[in-house]
Each structure stands twice: as structure tokens, then as C-alpha cells.
């Protein structure tokens, strides 16, 4: 990472902290909610960026993990709200509104889903992989729509935001603090992974699979591990997103969600550590500004995305930091 990129990352990290604090002091809860949304969507993007940027795995199915995390939160909370146990046999499992427990379930469930779908999809590569991850995401989408127990098409409401010990999550700035810390932890973990032997091997497998194979490393296992970690991070973001909206619906699983998570990564800059943060911030900013100007703001988003892909491949951070990523 060059000095300019380090500077940009610092500005982004501080900016994401200063804006909600300013909004808190000036009593602007809506702006705090927006920045919370940026932090959560950035977290989802950080997950995808690990698979996409480092591993070169173009997954169009990350909505699957986002949705699983969301539904983990929604289902546990709905059982806690109705006092109906989740299951009674062979042992009783009660619902819960405790965030740490919900996160554990979300992490575990999305890791499991990533392991199964990854093991299947990674048997293929290239364009097959894109289509298959997309198809698996849709499978979950249609499943949640047709499964009536948890709201089907209508989704599930979480009437009171889940709790975190020692904090009042209903106060916007306190909920923001949770998402900010988790985003920070995820960024730290991903940065460490990128510099570890595993990360280097993964990056090498993306650039030249034959060579990696020749030194005795099996790319399939590296990629599967990366895909699972990636899906898990996005799953956590899904659980937080459910709590932000206090609502989950099959939309979280839709392929547009997968596309949007990918758009955050690309707008910000692929394989840049803070790319998803910059991308999510830009996306929410555009949504607010352009969405206020026109109901059809997605046209402008589409044109912008097209311009970035065709002419400015490094995304926002690539544009500002200038220098290359140091590979390819």
C-alpha cells in the first residue's frame, strides 16, 4: 500500500467516524443512520473484496450470505418475540435478541452455506463460476419466498432492535459504534490475511494458477477457504443490516443485492483494502443526492458504473491514489 493510499484510508476511517459524531452533537439521527448503513454495506463489501480482489473469484451470489445473516437475526428475534422455542427436540432451543449470540449463529450459518456452495461452485471457474454463484443465490431467494413459516414474501419484522450487553442499541450513535468497531475488526483481519502466507498464495493462485500448483499448493483449497471467510464476513453484515432496518425480507437474497455489493467494491476500487468503504460511502451519497433529484436515479448509477468499468478501472481509490496495486 502506497503512502497516498494509506492517507486516503486514514481520511476514510476518520471521516466515517467524524460524520456521525458531528450528526450526534447536532441532533441529526438520519445522518447517523446513513453512516451506519455505509459501515454495514462496506462490511458486506469487505467480505466480497476478499474473494473478488484477492482471490479473483467473481461471485455474483454474495446476497446469499447477506440474506442468511439477515434471516439468522430475523428468525432468532422472531422466536424471542413470540416466546416460541425454535425447536423442542432433541433439546430445546429458544430464540434470542442478544446480538453476540445472533452474530455467532449468522457467522456459523453463512460459513456453512459458503462451504457447501463454494465446494460445488469452485469445481468450475471463469464464467461458469459467475453463473453458478448467481444461481445458488437465487435458490435461496426463491426458497425464502416459498417457505411460509418465516413470512415468505412479506419478510419478518424485528419489533425492538436486538440488544448488546452494556449498550442501548436503540440510540443511533451507539448502534453505529457497534457497526464501526466490527467494520474495523473485519478490515484488520482482511489486511492480516492479505499479508499472511495464505493471502500471498491466494493472490498468486489468482495471477498464475499453474505456478502455484507447481510449487505444491492446491488452489482449490485456498479458494474454498477464502470463499468461506468472505461469505462469513458478508453474513455478519447481513445480521447487522437486519437490525438496522429491524426488518428482513427475501430482497436481501435477490441478485440485485449481489450486484450492488459488487458495485461497492468496484466503485471504491477492487483489491484495495478500503475500496468497499469508499464505494459504499459513494453509493449511499449518490442514492441520497440523485435519489432526491429523480425517481430514476438508477439510470445515472448505471451510466456511472459503465464509465468506471470502461474508463476508470481502479475505482475511486485508484483515481485518488494513482499508483497501481502492485500486481498483474
Amino acid at each position: 500500500m502506497g503512502r497516498r493510499e494509506f492517507l486516503i484510508n486514514t481520511v476514510l476511517a476518520l471521516g466515517l467516524l467524524v460524520v456521525p459524531l458531528w450528526a450526534h452533537v447536532n441532533d441529526q439521527p438520519y445522518i447517523i443512520t446513513l453512516t451506519t448503513k455505509v459501515a454495514i454495506l462496506a462490511l458486506a463489501g469487505v467480505g466480497l473484496n476478499l474473494a473478488l480482489g484477492l482471490g479473483g473469484l467473481v461471485s455474483l451470489g454474495h446476497a446469499m450470505f447477506f440474506g442468511i445473516g439477515g434471516y439468522a437475526a430475523g428468525i432468532l428475534a422472531s422466536h424471542a418475540q413470540s416466546y416460541a422455542p425454535l425447536m423442542e427436540w432433541p433439546f430445546t432451543v429458544e430464540g434470542t435478541q442478544s446480538m453476540p449470540v445472533i452474530w455467532m449463529v449468522a457467522l456459523f450459518a453463512s460459513a456453512l452455506a459458503a462451504l457447501v456452495t463454494g465446494a460445488l461452485s469452485l469445481r468450475t471457474s471463469g464464467v461458469y463460476f459467475i453463473m453458478i454463484t448467481l444461481a445458488f443465490g437465487q435458490m435461496f431467494f426463491y426458497f425464502t419466498i416459498s417457505w411460509p413459516a418465516y413470512g415468505g414474501e412479506d419478510g419478518l419484522s424485528i419489533y425492538v432492535r436486538d440488544h448488546f450487553p452494556g449498550l442501548n442499541t436503540l440510540v443511533p450513535i451507539q448502534f453505529f459504534a457497534i457497526t464501526y468497531v466490527l467494520l474495523g475488526i473485519a478490515l484488520f483481519v482482511v489486511a492480516r490475511i492479505a499479508r499472511s502466507g495464505f493471502g500471498l498464495a491466494l493472490n498468486a493462485a489468482r495471477q498464475n494458477e499453474t505456478r502455484v500448483r507447481a510449487v505444491g499448493i492446491e488452489p482449490y483449497r485456498l479458494r474454498l477457504a477464502a470463499f468461506v471467510i468472505s461469505g462469513t464476513i458478508t453474513g455478519l453484515a447481513g445480521a447487522l443490516f437486519a437490525d438496522l432496518n429491524r426488518f428482513v425480507s427475501p430482497t436481501m437474497f435477490s441478485w440485485q443485492t449481489s450486484g450492488e455489493i459488487m458495485v461497492f467494491v468496484i466503485l471504491g476500487g477492487v483489491a484495495r483494502l478500503f475500496g468497499p468503504v469508499a464505494g459504499a460511502a459513494l453509493f449511499i451519497l449518490l442514492e441520497e443526492v440523485l435519489g432526491g433529484l429523480s425517481d430514476y436515479w438508477h439510470i445515472y448509477l448505471g451510466v456511472l458504473l459503465l464509465v468506471v468499468v470502461l474508463f476508470a478501472r481502479g475505482g475511486l481509490i485508484g483515481l485518488l491514489a494513482g499508483e497501481g496495486k502492485g500486481d498483474d
Binding site: L52, V58, L60, L120, R123, T124, G126, V127, Y128, I130, M131, I132, L134, A135, F136, Q138, M139, Y142, F143, I145, S146, W147, P148, A149, W255, G259, M262, V263, I266, V270, Y296, W297, H298, I299, L301, G302, V303, L305, L306, V309, L310, R313
Partner: protein
Amino acid sequence: MSFLLLIEQILNGLQSGVMLFLMSAGLTLIFGVMGLINLAHGSLYMVGAFAAAAVAAATGSFTLALIAALAAAALAGVLVEIVVIRRLYARDHLDQVLATFALILIFSEGTRWLFGSFPLYLDVPRALSGPVHLPGGIAYPAYRLAIIGIGFAVAAALFLLIAKTRVGMRIRAGESDREMIGALGVNISVLYTAVFALGAGLAGFAGALVGAIQSVQVGMGEPVLILAFVTIVIGGIGSIRGAFVGALLVGLTDTLGRVLLPVAFGTFMDPSAATSIGAALSSMSIYILMAGVLLFKPTGLYGSA
């Protein structure tokens, strides 16, 4: 479950299968010849349906509507190919996915802006609006039967086009060696535009035909696009024959799964649980089929490595 109902459902499965083939054939050709993954293929399907609905509303003629659908989608295809897609052939798949995703956003919102959010309706032509009585006492909608016929006819024409004509020869040559046919003096960029327009036209045609059964609305193309992806993953990317077999498999599995699974679960469960489990499982059936094919043949039934 009566035998007659089963026959009717098999016909429904065939009908959705042949329509799926029209979509998948274009996608698989475009990938086979140009190496491009086109997410916006569903948008061309939508363009066809909207053009048909608009022309049918203005003129009242279903034939004109079909011609308009074919022409509008092919024209949109040519335009998109020249302005955007052409720049993507040399790029990696990620760029292609993103750029065509951007095209979906532009097409969908553009259509919403032009036609509004409410679905349009395209009426089945009067001559085909009644049922047909098939041997064995089956009454089946004439229009759906006609769609099956048209689908098979288009499939046959496409096979002939690719196997017997000069254009088809160039397409096949383009699939096996792009640089070589360029070097041999074939104008490769015209060929690419033509293949893209052919795929787009087929998608638009399918959109218009299906639009008369379902409603014509923004976002109608994406569910079909994803089914078409499943189809060509099963059939093998780049293979027209694979797309045909895959489309029929997906169409039949999807349709029959929806009818048979709840009945099958009903034999040993109480009806309401059987309905919900059957419905949930049948919504996943084609993806399970895809996963099964991938386990044994990672490149699809007719795919080459």
C-alpha cells in the same frame, strides 16, 4: 393426480422449456463466439415484450407485434454492441459482468421511465385464444401449443442456420478460432455484431411470446436470465445442442416439480405441511439438478473443457 393433468403439465414444461431455449441459445452463442457473459440478455427479452405490447396496443395485430419485438430487440442489440459491448470482448469476465449489470440498470429504469411501473398486457391473438382438444380428451390452450410449435421450429431453423449456411460456418469458425477467421478475411466485427443481434432478436421474440401469457413489466427478464444461466451451465456453455437439452430439462423439472413434489409429500404428511415443503423444495429443484450435473460433469452435459 390424474393422468390427464400430468400430460397437461408436461406440455407446460415443454412450453417453458422451448422459450427458455430461445433465451439460452443467444446467451450461449454470444459466449461461444465472443467469449462474453451478457447479464443484459434479460433486458433484451424485456425490450421485445414491451415493443410487442406497444405495437399490439397501437395496431391490434399480434403478427406485427411479434415482428416489432424481433426488430426492436435486434436493433437494441446492435446499438448496445456497438456502443458498449464491443469494448468488453478483450476484458476479463468481471468487467463484462459489471458493464452488463450497468446496462440492466439503464434498460430497466429507462423502460420504467418510458412506460411506467404498471404492467402492460399483451393479448393472445383471437384465433389462438381458445382451447385445443387433443386426443385422449385433453383440452389445452391453443396459444401455448402454438408456442411449443414455434419454439421447436425456431430451434430447427437455428440448427440449420448454424450447420448449413455460410453465416453458420463463420459462427462455428469463430467459436473455434477467433484470430484465424479474422486473418482469413472475415470481417470479425460485423460477424460479432450479427451474432449479438441474432441472440438479442431471439430473446426479444421469446419475451413477446411469453409476454402474452404473463404480464409485460420491468424486471421480467431477470428471472428468465437466471433460468437461462442454469440451462447453459447444465447443457455446457457454448453448445447449442446443450442449450436445447438443458432448456427442456429445466422447463420440465421446474414445472413438474411444482406439481408433483407437493403431491409426493402428501402421501406421507399432512396436506398443509406437504404443500409448504413441496413448494419450497420445488422452488429449489432446478438448482439441485444443476448441482447434480456439476458434480459429475463440471463443464455441463455437452460442454468441452
